[in-house]
Each structure stands twice: as C-alpha cells, then as structure tokens.
Amino acid sequence: MAQMKWSHVIALPVLATVSAPVSATEYLSVADAQRVLIPQAQNFVPFTVTLSPAQLAQIKKMSGVPQHNAQPKIWRAMNGKATIGWIIVDEVIGKHEFITYATAISPDGHVLGVEIMSYRESKGGQVRDPKWRNVFRGKSVQDQFKLNKDVPNISGATLSCRNITDGVKRLLVLHALALGRQS
C-alpha cells in the first residue's frame, strides 16, 4: 500500500484518452449541407454580417438563448440573381461536445431544412434521423419551439435536442433581424 503509485492510477484515463483516436463523425461538409438543403440553388455566396450589440440583445430576448457569434457563418442561396434561401451553419452544446448543424431558411423566414453536420455524443444519434429533423420544416419565428411538445424529445439526448431546438429558433430570429431585408 505504501508503495502504491497513484501517478499510474491518475495517468490511466489520460493515456486511454490520448491513445484513443477521435471518432470520425463529420457527416456533412458545408458544401454537402448546402446542396442537400437547397438543391435547386445554382450557387451559394458567402454573406458577411456583423451583428450589433443591439441585435445580439434582441436575439436573446426573442429566442431565449444568446447568439455567441457576432459574425455567423451565412451563405446566400442564389438562382440566377434571385435569392432563394439562406444557409446558416451554427454550433450548439451537446452533452460533451459541440454539435455542428446547418439550417436553411427561406427568404420569407420559414425553415427549409436542418442537417446535422457533426455529432459526437455517445447517445442520441437519432437527432440525425430525417423524421426528427423534418419537424422543423415550415416553422417560422412565430411558431412555438417547446421541446417534447412542439418538437419531440429523444431519450438520452435531451440536452442535444433542447439546444438544437433553441438554436433553430435563434437562427430564425437572426434571419428576421439581419437577413430578411437582404432577400
């Protein structure tokens, strides 16, 4: 007992982690997500916007959650010279890692689709199931986004479901405040 080498005990989880390759869970690239979400678009043009402090405060007030990135990743989906939608790539907190997802929003502010680009959690991979993601289609900033009522919950992935649900609502508010007039 006196000779117990506790450094070995402490090192074990670290060694296990270091020796474990990170799982490949990047399901879609940005280009893939764009094509899947708005297939009729001829091209996707990066759109730069810097949200003002007032806009950030308004997003939090309207969606209930903060928009951390003042320069969100946005692309304008073009068909000729016409804007036929917007793609916003965002991250929310999962149980232990960030979940990267893309949301397509129509010029008039309705969800066209949601794609999970990366998901690394041990449970709740069903958030990638089209049946679950399709619940968001057609929703606008006026709609309710209550988890387990308006959006079904997935057991074992409740935090992921809640944060994705809140995230989509937040992006709809962002669209209404910063992109609606650009369409």
Binding site: A2, V9, L12, A20, H96, S122
Partner: protein
C-alpha cells in the same frame, strides 16, 4: 497490501475502451446528477476512493467499487455493485474504532443494489430531480477493516440544473442513510479496550452540492462539497464532517473518467485522545481522492 489488484482493475477498464473518445453525466466524485440512462442502455463503472491520514500514525484505505447500471425505462435506472476494501493502518489505536494495526486487502466487502427514479429532467423541465434508493450489505468495517455485518439503506434526492445551455452544470444532493451493524468479536484486545459487539443503529444525514464548467469539448472542471452528520440512538449527534474540493471530468463517446480531491475542511463531535485540530478523524480521514472510470454500452 499489494496495489496489483487495483491497478489491474483500472487497466482492464482502460484497455476495454474502444478507440474513441467518450461521454457521461458523472461530472462529480461525490455528488450525483438527476439524469437516468435511456431505456435499454447501460454503463459499467469502477470507482476507487483513497482515504488517507488520521493525523497520527499511518492510515490508508482504498474502497473499490465495480458497478453496472441499466436503463429499465427512460426514467428508471437499476444498478448493482460489488465493493472491495484494502486497508493499511498502524501507529494509531482508537478505542472503539481502530482496535489493532492492519494491512490487508483487497478483500470483498459488500454488495449494493440501487434504483434511480427520474422525476424531472434537467434538460426538459429546466430543473432536474431524481430519487435514488439503495440497499447495501457489508461484511467489513470500512474504517478499521475488521469483520462486521451491516445492513444499510439510503435515500437521496438529487437536483440538477443546466446553466448557460449546458456549459455550466449545478447539482445538489440531500441524503438520508440508516445502518444496522453487528461487529464480530476480536480476540486478544488490550484490557479495557472497547469493541462493542451488540447491534448498533446509526443514521446519517448529508447535503452536498457541486458546480462543473465545460472548459473545452469533453473536459469539465468543477468543485463540490458535502456535509454529513452522524447520529446514534443513544447519544444523538455523534460526529459531523465537511469535505470540499476540486473535480475534473473527461467524457467521450464510450468512456469517461472523473478525478476528485476531497479534503476534510472541518469536522466535529467525537475525537480520539491526543487528536489535534477540529476535524472528524475517528471514522473519517483528512483527505479523500476518488477516481471513477466508466464505459457506456
């Protein structure tokens, strides 16, 4: 006492890990959250707790617990655990508590069955609440390493709150434990040494809380604390202790680990002759270190 058993257990847990980074909600060493496993999923844990330093002599004890959990429904998790005790104590005798030097282990020390009922989900209902009940039978006294038979029942209320979209997590626990124990007689004790073998009843109330912050993907750093007060039918409050310390948690897809240092900050009640300072050292120690390793399946 050899450390080979302990190391082999930990090595087995680590080697059994598939080559991926992993995850779970055991963010703390001593306090527990309110979530249950999804129906049909399970986890295997190995907990090791090193208890050391009673202020005089040498005292080190390692509690090893191997536990399996299974989600019966989305709101009910059942678990079973086997525990083992390794102990090395010399240079200190405490009348009624530490009767003789000992260096033994690991030895099988008990079995525990537990049920966790989720009442409110922290992610769904904004505030999480669970009721945890357990029953345990022990064959060794965890403090002295001597033989005894103890039946213990425990109920814990566990609250949990996600803050900052889950970046910061709070948990709070309230616990009530009742134990009925009968010590086995020990031969050749010094004359007048008290080692009661009549059945005894003890009740412990505990309250704990912890905060954990996600400092990077997969990594959580936090702090937790626990107050415990022990009562006996004849003397009322016998002892109390307050532990607090830092904790670090790593969680990936299949495997997670939590390390906690839990020093005793303050304590009171019964002391042993010659004891200095204001700590509860009759049954507790100055320091505890807990390492948990778990695997999801």
């Amino acid at each position: 006492m050899t450390n080979r058993f302990l190391l082999s257990l930990l090595s087995a847990a680590a080697l059994a890990v598939p080559g991926v980074a992993l995850a779970d909600e055991n963010l703390f060493g001593y306090n527990t959250g309110a979530e249950t496993l999804p129906k049909g999923s399970g986890e295997i844990y190995v907990f090791n707790t090193l208890r050391s330093d009673k202020g005089q002599g040498t005292y080190r004890a390692v509690d090893t617990e191997i536990e399996g959990e299974y989600g019966v429904t989305d709101r009910i998790t059942l678990s079973a655990a086997a525990s083992f005790l390794s102990i090395d104590s010399n240079g200190l005798l405490i009348d009624g508590y530490l009767p003789k030097p000992i260096d033994k282990g690991p030895r099988f020390s008990g079995l525990e069955m537990k049920a966790k009922f989720n009442v409110l989900s922290p992610a769904l209902d904004d505030f999480g609440l669970a009721i945890i009940t357990s029953a345990e039978v022990k064959r060794l006294d965890p403090h002295s390493g001597q033989k005894k038979t103890e039946y213990e029942a425990r109920v814990t209320l566990a609250g949990q709150k996600y803050l900052m979209q889950g970046q910061l997590i709070w948990v709070g626990n309230l616990g009530l434990k009742a134990g009925h124990e009968t010590r086995k007689a020990i031969a050749n004790l010094p004359e007048g040494f008290d080692w009661p073998t009549d059945p005894e009843m003890e009740i412990e109330l505990s309250a704990g809380t912890g905060l954990s912050y996600r400092v990077a993907p997969n990594w959580f750093v936090g702090a937790e604390t626990q107050y415990a007060s022990e009562y006996e039918t004849e003397v009322g409050q016998e002892r109390w202790s307050w532990f607090a310390g830092p904790t670090i948690h790593y969680g990936g897809e299949k495997f997670w680990a939590t390390l906690t240092w839990f020093p005793q900050i303050k304590g009171g009640g019964e002391t042993y002759p010659g004891q200095t300072g204001h700590l509860h050292l009759v049954e507790k120690t100055k320091n505890e270190y807990r390492l948990k390793i778990g695997m999801n399946f």
